[in-house]
Amino acid sequence: MRHLLSIADLEREDIERILSSAAFFADVADRPIKKVPSFRGRLVINLFYEASTRTRSSFELAAKRLSTDVLNVVSSGSSVEKGESLHDTVSTLSAYGPDAIVIRSPHAGAPALVAGWSGAGVVNAGDGKHQHPTQALLDVYVLRERLGDLDGRSIWIVGDVLHSRVARSCAQAFRKLGAEVTFAGPPTLVPNELAALGCEVRHTLDDIGDADVIYALRLQHERMSEAFLPSLAEYTANYQINSRRLKVRQLLMHPGPVNRGVELSGEVIDAPQSLIIQQVRAGIVVRMAVLVEVLTGSHAADPAVQRMTPEPQLA
């Protein structure tokens, strides 16, 4: 795989290959020495134009576990803040000869542009409200660990779908693995047009008992000032996942960070059905697997490099 830009670019086999590779790295993570040496001397640049704690740190840790050099470039304090264009920033960073660029941008399509401008393999770490493919892959990884497979499972994605790149990527990934996906939330944040993604659209949680998995999304406070919602209290009354709505047999996910007491009540976050901590843990191994894909894919044309790059032994 040359780049990871969108779940839409992946076939089911691609997703399964990445997940198997992630499972291999999960075994490595249980060893006393958690690093694999295969990519020593390779350079991974994390180019982050948006604040991010868990995605950036898990990409950094993933790259380090693969023994690569890691350069973190964040929007504050760099030329990004001085008005340099994305193109010029990428040209400058490309002079360091990166093997992979991980980019987080507030704008849809920025990773695809970077892929066109740089020789490096590009990983989309979130672009605008468009895609967040590694989040979707790690969510699928966690669900398959728990459920075996997703075929025929019902997954409800609840909340601010309109403004969520996680919802778009997850819906595509879940569906590619055979799950049925329902978007649920207020009509202002879950417009009917979202059915074009192949998902059912609901505006109440009346039937959420049918779900095998409930995937709650973060609600941004600015949605009130933008008149998408009248109040937090009304939102929580209608859409909060709490112990009354979460059944014992159901699984609960959230991409984090959680607004405690808004989209999730405090007690369900820590309930046995919650997979939220597993999601964070899976982030490292899945991102290791993704980096391996692009680090090998980006040099596929160069046989000398290929010889120096042993494939990880898959479990």
Binding site: H87, H107, A108, G109, A110, Q131, E193, L194, A195
Partner: protein, 457 residues
Amino acid sequence: MSPASSPRRGGTTTRLFSASAQPADLLIREAHVLDPRAEIDGRHDVLIRGGEIAELAAPGTLDAPAGAETIEAAGKHLFPAFVDPHVHLRTPGQEHKEDLETGTRAAAAGGYCAVIAMPNTAPVLDDPTLLRGVVAQAREQARVRVGFMAAISVGLRGEQLTEMTLLREAGAIGFTDDGRPVVSAGLLRRALTYQRLCGGVLALHEEDPTLSAGGVMHEGEVSAALGLAGIPAISEATMIARDALIAKAEGGRTHFQHLSARASVEALAAAKVNGAPVSGEVSPHHLLLCDAEVRSLDTSFKMNPPLRSEDDRSALIDALRDATIDCIATDHAPHARDEKAVPFEEAPMGTTGLETAFAAIYTDLVVPGVLTLSTLIERLTAAARLFELDTPTIVPAAEANVCLIDLDATWRVGVGGYESRAVNCCFAGRELSGRVLLTAAGGQVAYRQRSFALSAA
């Protein structure tokens, strides 16, 4: 549609400006002449002497008088040259995108003899002295005639009226805040009232910012799938409905720019039935493309109004055919390459269009039989009447405003570059039929296609 004939002053002032060159002396032999308004549709020899149409005669019967160039045009079509009511020539202040010379060269290459430039320049054309400056520049640099729209409100801010009478005296052809809507109904009403004093069509970019704010593409399934903020069709249509009522109440001549949606067409049709003195235009990209193109996140497809749904597109075609929409406007909006080489949400709005308008519509709508060739020619020239200009026509004693087109010649957009300084064309890479070989504008030869110029020499 009948533009209101309210009393006006300053109607005799020249409102189109170009550099002067040698008046054309041409004999165009055996071309198929199509001039729908003059009811000419057949093969003729056309003699142009001293920049005027001198004679139409049976094919192969005329010989070139001394000093006239003969163009053998059997199999080619000769049309009245086109008039574009909506272009951005970026002068003054944004000449890195386009200037009067490159923009009018692009116009001539597209078969246009006159274009009307928008005032959303830097600075905004809201001041008579500034307007005199660009008029003087056009007299030196423009290959085809340029009319300049002045702003309705100072700085396009929608707060204070410009000096409309003084701007008219300085040559303004009309008024618009294009690029932005006139949000205040009160200000629009005052401008339409004041128009009685100075004349000049008010052209309106219709968009309700409370509905469109932050939007970068059409609101629909594609925007939902991509996670891009949408501009709903009603943001345009509701403003057209509102402003048509104000135009009717004031009797003020009003033109609706770049219609993009079915609901907008319906609002315009209702306004015309209601007797409002209104007209409308549509752009080639809205006739030929829809929002599915944006899936590529290619910034060439980012424009305002945005490419809309297939249903909107078919409503626009129907409205153009039945003349609910009066004319075709390119909304030629050049941008520098690096300005468009950014993520979709950050890119400026607009596509170029002058060099591709005829060929794109001919290829996609005339060849498949959706639109007749004579309707296309009528709608490409109808803006002249709407803006109180002489309509190009191929009859004796008329000024030579003609374009010679090889309908069978195919070409790939962008191969060999553009006459425009800009490359942000939404039809780039498309193979089109219909190549402009020669344009005469204002009695002068304004354009010759390169290979055709060689073979003719």
